[in-house]
Symmetry: C2
Subunit: 515 residues, 2 copies
């Protein structure tokens, strides 16, 4: 057995059985080992940013880490944007990066780069394997690191000789550490605070919004104490729709979020960070809560959130309250023009139960939340780190993780172009992914932000830097070029027909909705 | 005047008048300033890896730095692979990266990342502007850093408040430092060595191969002393073709390069590093020169190469020798099957004078050198850092830099997929770029390397990880989807017709050559 085989066997033993890859020569023994260790499901991606985005999406919907396999420093570089999003999503991931053979490094060959240096800003844990004898143990340590609560990016750099030299065999992976308990003092202080009923907000962070049981406990606590329940505006996976607890959400817009939080005297953070603006604006605050609001940390993301919520609910007698659940209220199919509003309404009217929505609609997605709140239960995946080019690959990985569920991508035309290679993997793997490109033929959000920030419309030299209409992108051609059937629609009727077809037929489908 | 305007005016004053960009909200004042400072040519790219590759290509053919404008850490991440190639090419580049406003950084908003940490591995010089008052001086310092011989990547991180706050105005850019002189002792030691005529090789590095005058001097020196003249196998821009000095080349294959250097007693490095294998292989050496060969450093890349060559030529009386120049000998148009060999022969038969060839043909490009040696004079751009996804954007930037010259990209289908968004910029800017996709429907080089390294053919689970044929990519659809007319050809006759059309008609064109 060589090092590569020992690594793959260790990954399989540790529950990491899916690997999204774009390999090169330095990873060739790893690829070859797939023929002898057959339990690993390997998925080829035609660009590394697709591979890391897929691994993120897979873990978001399964809760289990996938592996990514990338080719040296530049391959890691191509994967960085979606590693950034995954890191901000607390996604567990085993990120394997090939490296030159150890003896070759001193010669600074063309592909040599400071891989550890590139990895650190987007990883919680970085290690370079020393040789094939330690490779399996390093892989096990990477799995433990990835699974350390709330989920981490573990980057393991694999010199090619650690793959090709002989090894002793796989090692078993120890259990990851349990989350540390939240401080009982903080819990009772928050309980005391909530009993005072003084304009208090419970702000839920990402790990809470993933899980309808946790949202439900938070909702009971809020109801028992008259507090408002609010979720951050983005989350790695938000459990929502009919039968699930409802809650307010913060917003991309700084002014809107400040308005939502106005009057708050106490902000209780539940697995959340203090809410901040996505960007800074001159003459606007960075912090969204009122300046005189007091901030209380109930439990942070590294701590045991379920236990903290349960203890708080017990202390408040909140289990006798029922959370407000969203009713099932599909809207009627809309009529009128094709617009973001009618597109989201169509989604709410037609989406199947347990759908997964990968939302990178950016400026066209603002009204999505209220319009889909009473649709059948679903999971909503946001761009957690603000790095566009996530929507398509995260959806692709999610569909690998849950082939039984319909995945729907709501994607801007500008952001879709970053990682359009995802479509090929969807075609190759026959994934149930329906992609809706909301084609406004611009980086619309930048046109908006220029008005916000510069107080004026774009001029003749700046406007083309935010516009995609010269020439128009033909998303039907792009999609078909990668094997995904596609249709362009310019009317609502045609959109509804195409949407039905995308849901009803198996395999991937793309709709270019010209808005 | 705000900081952004002061930066752009400083760039213009310092000779940096072209900016390849993919901006975001944090760069919006920079974009807005394009309306008031109109001398900057700005080119939108739909992915940051295209922007950095374009800036690389522009500088390779013009010798002048361009700017790239990227959006925070993830935008920089997307640009890293081609920054890596540019760094290995000694390309001068002013790499501008947006950042949150300084006051916003402490709050760790979603897009916050360690930008300096990401930049350092791919930059020679990294600075974060402190405020709008220093921004112009920082831009000038970045230009000096970029122009410091032999050319550097200067990354300047621009917090958005440094763009939007008011500034005093542009500053003028000092001259870059001159290269330090090579040691006269080394020059006379090499002169003495060459007079002994003991199986000596002059190995030319990248900066020498760019310039036919420097190659000519090296060729005279070699002829005067009976030494062999060899160039490294990759170069940022290699001056070659009819009327230019001929020289041997090293090769991607370790065995072939070792064979080329066999019998060498003295290896004289002329702006070159000691030659090493591109990858390491078990049981093969990393160093390509014979173990008993002595290495002599004539002049390194940071030193004054023209002066060193001139001094050496004087010392040897080499100016009375003439370099061997390639004759103009276009091959006849080939007949037979469509294959890499007939494709390269067609290129040699039809390429116009002063063409720029961006070569990322990878496995299909092995025989390109000899087949094009006697074509009309041209410049050849290689993948300098081994990071694929360079061919299309470097060609795009080269065409912006030299709109009067025909640019021809010889591109693998696998590597082309990394940065295919380049085609849209070619269409928007009506660039004279002819792209030939050598579509072998696989990462052929990996299939070859698996045989080399693992001693076996790919099996049923590894082979799909290196194959692009399930489904086939339709490059004609992909190209047309971005506005570049295209044709698929499967016969040599059709290829020749399409190639002629690509050369004769203005604007971009793509040929998918199925081989």
């Amino acid at each position: 057995m060589n090092g590569a085989e020992s690594i793959i066997k260790t990954l399989i033993g540790g529950g990491v059985n899916t690997c999204f890859m774009n390999p090169g020569t330095s990873e060739i023994h790893f690829v070859s080992a797939l023929d002898s260790v057959r339990e690993m499901r390997s998925v080829l991606c035609l660009f590394e940013g697709v591979a890391t985005g897929c691994a993120d999406g897979y873990a978001r919907v399964t809760g289990k880490p996938a592996a990514a396999l990338l080719h040296l420093g530049p391959g890691l570089g191509n994967g960085i944007a979606n590693l950034h999003n995954a890191k901000k999503a607390y996604t567990p991931m085993v990120n394997l990066v090939g490296q030159h053979a150890t003896s070759h490094l001193e010669y600074d060959a063309p592909l040599t780069a400071d891989i550890e240096g590139l990895a650190r800003p987007v990883s919680h844990w970085v290690r370079t394997t020393q040789n094939s004898a330690t490779a399996a143990a390093d892989a096990a340590a990477a799995i433990v690191a990835a699974r350390t609560p709330p989920g981490q990016i573990a980057t393991l750099i694999l010199p090619s000789d650690a793959n090709w030299d002989s090894a002793n065999g796989p090692v078993s992976t120890p259990s990851p550490p349990k989350p540390s308990p939240a401080s009982p003092e903080r819990i009772s202080a928050v309980a005391k605070l909530l009993r005072r009923r003084e304009n208090t907000v419970l702000l839920m962070g990402d790990p809470v919004m993933r899980d309808e049981k946790l949202i439900g406990m938070a909702s009971r606590i809020a109801k028992s104490s008259g507090a408002r329940l609010i979720g951050n505006w983005y989350g790695s996976r938000v459990s929502r729709g009919a039968g699930r607890p409802v809650f307010e959400r913060l917003n991309y817009g700084v002014d809107q979020s400040i308005r939502i939080l106005r009057g708050t005297r106490h902000l209780v953070l539940v697995g959340a960070r203090e809410p901040v603006g996505f960007f800074a604006y001159p003459n606007k605050p960075s912090l969204l809560a009122p300046p005189d609001a007091r901030i209380h940390h109930l439990v942070d993301v590294h701590e045991d959130i379920p236990a903290a919520l349960e203890a708080l609910a017990e202390a408040l007698g909140a289990f006798s309250f029922s959370p407000d659940l969203a009713p099932l209220q599909r809207p009627a199919l809309p009529t009128g023009d094709l617009s973001p509003e009618t597109i989201w309404t169509t989604l709410a009217a037609l989406m199947p139960e347990n759908a997964i929505v990968s939302d990178e609609a950016i400026s066209a997605g603002r009204m999505a939340g209220p319009l889909t709140q009473t649709a059948p239960p679903h999971d909503w995946l946001h761009v957690t780190g603000g790095s566009i080019g996530q929507g398509l690959p995260v959806a692709t990985g999610a569909a690998i993780g849950h082939p039984d569920r319909q995945v729907i991508v709501m994607e801007g035309d500008g952001s879709g172009m970053y990682t359009l290679q995802s479509l090929w993997t969807q075609a190759r793997e026959s994934l149930n992914v329906l992609t809706v490109i909301l084609a406004n033929r611009s980086y619309r959000i930048l046109h908006n932000e220029m008005k916000n920030l510069c107080g004026k419309e774009a001029g003749p030299r700046s406007s083309p830097m935010m516009s995609l209409d010269d020439p128009d992108l033909d998303w039907v051609a792009l999609s078909q070029g990668m094997g995904v059937p596609a249709k362009r629609v310019a009317t609502l009727e045609a959109f509804i027909d195409a949407f039905r077809r995308g849901i009803e037929e198996p395999g991937p489908y793309l709709i270019e909705a010209v808005i």
